[in-house]
């Protein structure tokens, strides 16, 4: 099959297919912007001290210390890269939009003589092409925004690093790699799908529910991260420094493993929530939700996982904020002791940086909630005939709406609690039970209110997504759905 034919067939379809391509491209645009922003931060030149090789001084070109301080730049870039997680989850969810119509189209290609490989290639090409368009548009937006955003304040400092550019191969790499990764992911997702002339068949998953083995990952991750402080202390007592690779392995590796455990554990949590709900259900809506959860615990797990990743980071951020607040208290107390006549508000730098982290987390939660909205809406639309038949038989729409709400919220609450527990536990090992600053010390108190606010934010985001997606319920239960063949 000629490449032009693949492209033509990949882009054939209805308005829903067009919407899917547009949303996938938009997700790729956001991801490209986040990655290019991270690369730009990394591209800010390091300024070494002439008399202290290996150490770097402040850049002093930018108004924001997150960009100025060499030690903080890596964290800023990492936070920007973390923003791509919910964006990628959103893209993955978008691929399910209008899936029944696409399945029929792919089956039509097979009926017309396409081989299974060719049909898969067409499906994969659609995703790859949409992401390529999005990546190219994202790069265009990135370059387009550089000019209007390149401003200096009265002190001659820039708000953003608009004076530096990532290396050209890196930019080209992003544009090339994103579509390739997306196409690869799409091909991987289709490994359970058999496209036949009479329709698309998804290989049944094993009947047994997911096992709780991700719990082992969570424990391993927590142990790894918790050992960071004792390891540093061990080296310090021997008047040496721990190797950087060891710190990265224990710290970043531990955090990633724990996060992976929570994300992979969502399937088990959904399944277990479904079983519990089924055992104790008293209403038809709960029965419907329970059966759906046990039947397909992984439905929507991709976007749900992104939301949980945000909650884990939020839990950790809340602990860090609590830690910095106590440090500032100690600093203020120390200043009062030394020079009570001077009004001093303390060093707010770290707390202000935490405000930016909070902002990034809220943005990520909103994006993840967008993905969830797509997932729930798609689930409603794909069940429209069964829903229409139920409503025609006299089942109130309220019962169906409540079943969707149960299905979303039943696994959300325990998963969010677990994610918060992991996030706080990770950082608790770092903060310890006592905070010291300026020769003073105070017990570390866990900021439960801030931690709880992240939990409430996540649950509210899920509830809002479900609430908005329920707008599709009325249309999906219309009697016209029963007439379509």
């Amino acid at each position: 099959m000629r490449p032009t034919t693949v492209l033509r067939l990949a882009l054939a379809g209805t308005r829903t297919d067009g919407l899917r391509v547009a949303l996938t491209a938009f997700s790729a645009l956001l991801a490209t912007l986040a990655i290019l922003a991270a690369l730009t931060v990394i591209a800010i030149p390091e300024l070494p001290y002439p008399d202290a090789p290996g150490q770097f001084r402040h850049n002093e070109h930018y108004a924001n210390p997150l960009l100025d301080e060499p030690g903080l730049r890596f964290g800023t870039a990492l936070t920007l890269l973390l923003l791509t997680i919910p964006v990628i989850a959103l893209a993955a969810q978008c691929t399910r939009l209008g899936a029944p119509a696409r399945d029929r189209r792919l089956a039509g290609f097979r009926l017309a003589g396409a081989t299974p490989g060719q049909a898969t290639l067409i499906a994969v090409a659609e995703t790859g092409l949409a992401v390529l368009l999005g990546a190219a548009a994202g790069t265009g937006v990135y370059f387009g925004l550089r000019v209007p955003l390149d401003r200096t304040d009265a002190s001659g400092l820039r708000a953003l690093p608009t004076d530096v550019l990532p290396p050209t191969p890196a930019i080209a790499g992003v544009i090339a790699a994103l579509p390739l990764v997306a196409a690869l992911a799409a091909a991987l997702l289709m490994r359970r799908v058999a496209i036949g002339p009479l329709g698309v068949v998804r290989t049944a998953r094993r009947k047994r529910g997911p096992l709780p083995w991700p719990g082992v990952l969570i424990v391993l991750g927590l142990i790894s991260f918790s050992s960071l402080v004792p390891v540093i202390r061990w080296f310090t007592e021997r008047e040496s420094e721990p190797p950087l690779w060891l710190l990265n392995l224990l710290g970043i590796g531990g955090a990633v493993i724990a996060m992976l455990g929570v994300v992979l554990g969502t399937g088990w949590i959904s399944h277990a929530s479904g079983r519990i709900l089924h055992r104790f259900e008293r209403f038809p809506s709960a029965l419907l939700a329970a059966r759906r959860l046990t039947n397909d615990p992984w439905h929507g797990a991709r976007t749900f996982a992104a939301l949980l990743a945000c909650v884990i980071v939020g839990g950790g951020a809340a602990m860090m904020r609590g830690y910095f607040e106590i440090q500032r208290e100690l600093e203020l107390r120390s200043m009062e002791n030394d020079a009570p006549r001077y009004a001093y508000e303390g060093d707010n730098f770290y707390l202000e940086s935490m405000n930016l982290v909070d902002l990034a987390i809220v943005a990520a939660v909103v994006i993840a909630a967008g993905g969830l909205l797509v997932a729930v809406s798609e689930s409603i639309v794909s069940r429209r005939r069964a829903y229409a038949a139920l409503v025609a038989s006299g089942v109130p729409r309220g019962v169906l709406a409540r079943s969707v709400l149960w299905q979303a919220l039943a696994p959300t609450v325990p998963s969010v609690l677990l994610a918060l527990a992991v996030g706080t536990q990770l950082l608790w090992s770092f903060t310890g039970t006592e905070v010291s600053n300026y020769g003073l010390s105070a017990p570390f108190t866990v900021p439960w209110d801030t931690i709880a606010s992240y939990g409430v934010l996540a649950v509210a985001a899920v509830a809002a997504s479900v609430g908005i997606s329920l707008l599709f319920l009325r249309g999906s239960t219309a009697v016209e759905e029963l007439r379509a063949t």
């Binding site: 029965l287 419907l288 059966r291 397909d296 069964a386 038949a389 006299g394 089942v395 019962v399 009697v479």
Partner: protein
């Protein structure tokens, strides 16, 4: 005694008229086939009589009640308690087992879980698919799914069963078996059945036939069964 009545029912989908003043009576306990070519308004008439759609003009009555003046909420309650509805396919909830699907209307009516399941399994047994009680629709054949759908439509012991092309997706042998069971159970229960079909074999199971043409009752009286006769009684 007339249980369902339509008087001059008019219904359009946008500019396209589906029913142009249909008048029919359905007697209690009778099995009535509504026949006609594709697009003649059969399903729309069934939807109006079942209270799924509200007609643009005309009257629809169930016993003494004017359904066309009722709110959607009241009509939904009526469908849940007094009517059973059966479609061609796609009506079972794929995630629920056969027993849970059949028990669903009872659960909605407030029946206890065990009681609902017992009744559901009883109905599955009457339709010869009790062994599939814990099986999901995706693991059943089309005929088995329709038997479960019949059980679900009848589990509340409705006074009227509306069946819209109930065997449209089945082969002829399975269709005959299903219709035979449907008619037998309906007669046992004294359930009124309104059967919409374009298939002469299906229409032949009815006591009486009303033929539609271009959204109106065909006055010629030459329905599908007028030529080929009836069976199944």
């Amino acid at each position: 005694m007339t249980i369902l009545r339509a008087r001059g029912v008019v219904k359009s989908y946008g500019p396209t008229p589906a029913l142009r003043g249909v008048t029919i009576d359905v007697a209690e306990g009778e099995i009535l086939a509504v026949t006609g070519p594709s697009g003649c308004g059969k399903s729309t008439l069934l939807h109006c009589l079942a209270g799924i759609l509200r007609p643009d003009a005309g009257e629809v009555s169930y016993g003494e009640h004017r359904l066309d003046t009722w709110s959607e909420r009241m009509r939904a309650r009526l469908r849940r308690t007094e009517f059973g509805v059966l479609f061609q396919f796609g009506q079972l909830v794929t995630e629920l087992t056969a027993a849970e699907n059949v028990a669903l209307p009872l659960l909605l009516a407030g029946t206890g879980r065990r009681e609902a399941r017992t009744a559901a399994v009883g109905w599955l047994d009457r339709l010869g698919v009790a062994d599939l009680a814990d099986t999901r629709p995706g693991e059943m054949s089309g005929g088995q799914q329709q038997r479960c759908a019949v059980a679900r439509a009848l589990v509340t012991e409705p006074r009227v069963l509306f069946a819209d092309e109930p065997t449209g997706a089945l082969d002829s042998r399975t269709s005959e078996q299903l219709l035979g069971e449907l008619v037998r159970v309906a007669r046992d229960q004294r359930t009124t059945v309104l059967l919409v079909t374009h298939d002469v074999q299906v229409a032949a199971y009815a006591d009486r036939e009303v033929a539609l043409r271009d959204g109106a009752v065909d006055a010629s009286g030459l329905g599908l069964t007028a030529v080929q006769g009836r069976h199944g009684r």
